[in-house]
Amino acid sequence: MTQLEVELNELKTEVSNMWSLVMSQLTKTRDAIVYFDKDLAREVVLREKRVNAYELKLDRDCENIFALYCPVAIDLRFLLAALKINNNLERIGDIADGIARYVIDAPTPFDKTLLEATQLLDMFENSMIVTNDAKVAFETEDTHLARTIFEKDDILDKLNRKANHTIADCIKQDLAVTEEAMYVLSIIRKLERVGDQCTNIAEEIIFYIEAKVLKHFQAK
């Protein structure tokens, strides 16, 4: 194994670690909502600094490999993909942080009927599934699995669109839930963005393995 391969393998492990950190942020954020646990939400906000630091570290690692090894072909594509995936993961971390802040700000626990009507927890579940699938696709270089993420993102998009009407109906029925409904809608919007970030990641995985650029293509 060449030294470049050693460096790239280490980078891959580090990106996976970043992924695990971000997924744990998402899981804790979901639990903070379900149990209305503000302490757990504060922990997510505190750990966001670690996610940011990890992003900077991975950026530096990529920069060093570019400068020292001048990678080409699949190595170059991997490094470019790792750099972008790192950025996407940090944004998922931002999303978890943003949702955790809603939990901290919310005056009362989220209404279970509202959560069920909007399928918020289903959205959480699907967000975590796509994030995990993207991680497995990256680690195993499985472009077939990466391609399934596009369909799973569609489910998140549908849930997001459906939530608009549901939230509107809930507010019409009871104006008192307006503030809470706005929090829930904001969380749903953010979870929909997790799907978008994972779609971007899936595109990067396919680019690195198959050298195909799928960005901005409707049919993937």
Binding site: T2, L4, E5, C70, P71, V72, A73, I74, D75, L76, R77, A211
Partner: protein
């Protein structure tokens, strides 16, 4: 459609019974820089030397197939005429040690017996040294020996000597492998300028150099032309796994 200047057709080269270049088919467009790379012994230098018929100077060496300059087979042309049209610069700078910078530049004319007037000689020397980015450095010392120059300057003097003969194609056999990074950078810059007037074919072991200076890259392995493509394509997504293994350093 790009204008092809050099084209080969099922070209083979041998040293005795040793088949070193195998059935190569390649088209080289005019005013392009083509890098030829591959591991040691893959036949890239032999292929380069076949283009201007230097290969046949070695005892036991022979070829078959065709190499065309425009549409004329170089093996049907007079070898001296071929080498006038297809100049060559070697790995180590090799100015004539007993000649001045001035005489080095026009040495080709003397060697083939072409006489130039003093004014033409002066003009040719200035033009060639300017094109090789050496004029400003040597214009006040044209009558000093070429060997007094630095390695990088000597190599540019050799390039000026090739340019002076007004070739259409210039062959470079690892032209910077004996030079320091600064001299290498100046020669690489020069390639970008030379491409406007000539077609450059460069054998190099330095893959980053191939990536930096060439428009197209040819990868040779065991005498075969494995892949020949746009350099950007070659260094981001090569088609052949052997090319990928070579450029990523995974070659065994």
């Amino acid at each position: 459609m790009e204008d092809t200047i050099v084209r080969t057709n099922d070209f083979n080269a041998y040293f005795g019974t040793n088949h070193v270049v195998k059935n190569v088919n390649i088209e080289i467009p005019r005013n392009h820089t083509v890098a030829v790379m591959g591991p040691s012994g893959c036949g890239k230098t032999t292929f380069l030397r076949c283009i201007n018929r230097m290969h046949e100077l070695i005892a036991g060496a022979h070829t078959d197939g065709k190499i065309y300059l425009h549409n004329e087979d170089v093996y049907d042309m007079h070898p001296i005429f071929v080498r006038l049209k297809i100049g060559m610069v070697f790995q180590r700078p090799n100015p004539f040690p007993n000649l001045s910078i001035y005489d080095n530049v026009i040495a080709g004319y003397k060697l083939v017996g072409m006489k130039l007037s003093k004014a033409d000689r002066d003009q040719k020397v200035e033009e060639s040294l300017t094109k090789s980015a050496l004029w400003n450095e040597v214009k006040d010392s044209l009558h000093k020996k070429g060997t007094f120059l630095s390695g990088g300057q000597q190599q540019r003097l050799c390039i000026a000597r090739a340019i002076a003969m007004e070739p259409e194609v210039m062959l470079f056999d690892e032209p910077t492998s004996a030079l320091d990074p600064i001299s290498t950078a100046s020669i690489e810059e020069l390639f970008h300028d030379l491409k406007k007037s000539y077609t450059l074919i460069i054998v190099t072991h330095n893959m980053q150099q191939a990536a930096r200076v060439s428009d197209r890259t040819a990868f040779f392995y065991l005498g075969e032309l494995v892949e020949y493509d746009d350099t950007k394509q070659m260094f981001t997504n090569p088609t052949d796994i052997r090319t990928q293994n070579y450029i990523t350093g995974r070659f065994s």
